[in-house]
Amino acid sequence: MAFVEIENLSVAFGRSMALRGINLSVERGEAVGLVGESGCGKSVTWLAALGLLPASATVRGSVWLDGKDILGAPKARLEPVRGGRIAMIFQDPAASLNPVHRIGRQIGEALTLHRGMTGERAKAEVIRLMDQVGIPDARNRINAYPHELSGGQNQRVMIAMALAGEPELLVADEPTTALDVTIQAQILDLLTTLRRDTGMAMVLISHDLGVVSETCSRIAVMYAGRIVEEAPSGQIFSHPGHPYTRGLLGSLPPLTGPRRRLVAIPGSVPEAARMPSGCAFAPRCDLSTELCAQVDPAPLPLADDHSAACVFAKPYQRNVHPVAGEGAFARERVLQ
């Protein structure tokens, strides 16, 4: 069994469904990218897994961590997991750090919680962590407040805080979105280096397919609260199976070859409360037919490690059992 296995996870805020049955697994040491437009449920997936959503959210499904379901587990079991086994960093580092506490204290807090360190030992470890994430002059910066640091430095502080608990999985929720482009690259490099050095797994949440493909070996594409395609990074680019993935690829500017116009995906993500029947992407899809408005396709294997949830996706690897023909109906699933 994988280190983390999310099984049929659904989240509803009142009557609107934010997640509609997510299945995703993360192996030890693996880097997985989670890609999709704003509001498709990328962050909610992991906030729900760690029990960090407000009480108004209805969460169903299972999240298996090392074979134990942690979804809805009592606080006493969840708190050691948060930051200790699965750490999370967020989009806006300046807002994610407490403005009235010194950064050394905020990092040290995680050390006390998960590794029982206090006093001078904790201080020395905070300085080591700050060195490790590339904050210059750590010995003095330990006393700085978040507003005295730049956005990139604050994100490094967040990463140091996440590393403090020696987690087995780091969930990086759009870690570079609020940062300058040059800083973005530095932070991504840092994450890659840290992963190599510590062997921790990583989930990189992003709306940027380019960013994710450089950093992760496997990519899951999300649309409207569901994973619509999942494959190793290379195959996402060589054999995109879902029209939404193709749309995302089309909106990436190519660095080589002739200049071309970027293709935008028309329309916008449907509101969670007004999900169309059938395939959620159908209203924006240029392939959509009457069938798409009726069936909500389940993921179909296109190759060993590649699946896409589209009735028109074609398997491209011989040894994958073909389900074409009558298959279109075999994989259909009617919306709840």
Partner: protein, 311 residues
């Protein structure tokens, strides 16, 4: 920090000058003190003599500068009623007022802040709703209505507590309850909304994601941040310690500064009114200074501003 304080002091001085000017102008526009004090049917010679004695026959700007000169030399003049030094007249009332406002201030804080925090932490619960109903009531019902309601219940109907005067400590209970309830209601509302705002912030999610128990998230991360806006309200209350009891003192015939102010305004006793208002302005300004210092202690970003101001 020193320069920061000095700039604040300068601003404070400007506020006081403006308040004094305002009082000077308004009081002189709203009626002739000579006629009010001497009576409308007093002989014209007597009125002229009164005006001459108090300098009211001088042009306005002369009176104005004379008044400023007096303020800066600490000579605020004599009461037009009984000829005593106004500073003494005002200061002898201060202990009575503080005997009401200081206990009320502690009631405000001891009740208002915990109620607001609890309501925010249990948003939409039954207790939250009760707290909010009480808070809105305390906010919406004017203090004199509440005061009369309390008198009706505890003095008239039950006969437990006296309704007026200053004979014993029991006389202070109803005025303190009136002011305590109103202030606690205001503070509970502000604390609740400050706390809700903070609990929705990203750094609270970070603290939870770090693995901190919820109680530690609230105590270590939420409260200090929620304290920042709440301090503003507490500052207003602090500034009102001397002046805040005008209405309540009048209802309960409590011989404090507030009642002195009301009586002096009615009598056009300019010197006393000016002295009271000046003192109120000074306590307000002093309270603001305290708030600024507290901000610096609670919010490190303000210290940054202080440093920037020094450069």
């Amino acid at each position: 920090m020193l320069q920061y304080l000095l700039s604040r002091l300068l601003r404070a001085a400007v506020s006081i000058v403006m308040v004094v000017t305002f009082v000077f102008v308004v009081l002189r526009m709203s009626g002739d003190p000579a006629t009010v004090i001497m009576g409308a049917d007093a002989p014209p010679e007597a009125i002229d003599a009164f005006r001459k004695a108090w300098g009211l026959d001088q042009p306005l700007w002369v009176q104005y500068f004379a008044f400023f000169e007096a303020v800066f030399s600490g000579e605020l003049g004599r009461s037009m009623r009984d000829g005593r030094d106004v500073v003494a007249v005002v200061l002898e009332r201060v202990p009575s007022t503080l005997a009401l406002t200081i206990p009320a201030f502690f009631v405000n804080i001891a009740v208002g802040i915990p109620a607001g925090v609890y309501a925010a932490l249990h948003r939409n619960s039954l207790i939250d709703r009760c707290v909010m109903v009480m808070a809105v009531t305390g906010f919406a019902v004017p203090s004199f209505i509440l005061a009369m309601l309390l008198v009706l219940i505890f003095s008239v109907t039950l006969g437990w507590l006296p309704s007026a005067g200053q004979d014993s400590w029991r006389n202070a209970i109803l005025p303190i309850a009136t002011m305590g309830f109103g202030g606690a209601a205001l503070l509970a509302r502000f604390t609740r909304s400050a706390m809700l705002e903070v609990l929705g912030q990203s750094y609270i999610r970070t603290a939870s994601a770090k693995g901190l128990p919820w109680s530690a998230v609230v105590w270590r991360h939420a409260l200090q941040n929620a304290a920042i806006p709440t301090i503003t309200i507490i500052g207003f209350m602090l500034g009102g310690l001397v002046a805040g009891a005008v209405v309540v003192e009048s209802v309960f015939s409590w011989p404090g500064v507030g009642r002195l102010l009301v009586v002096s305004v009615a009598n056009r006793d300019l010197a006393v009114v000016q002295a009271v208002v000046l003192m109120i302005a000074m306590t307000m300004v002093a309270a603001n200074m305290v708030v600024d210092v507290l901000y610096g202690l609670v919010d490190p970003r303000m210290q940054g501003q202080a440093r920037a101001a020094r450069r």
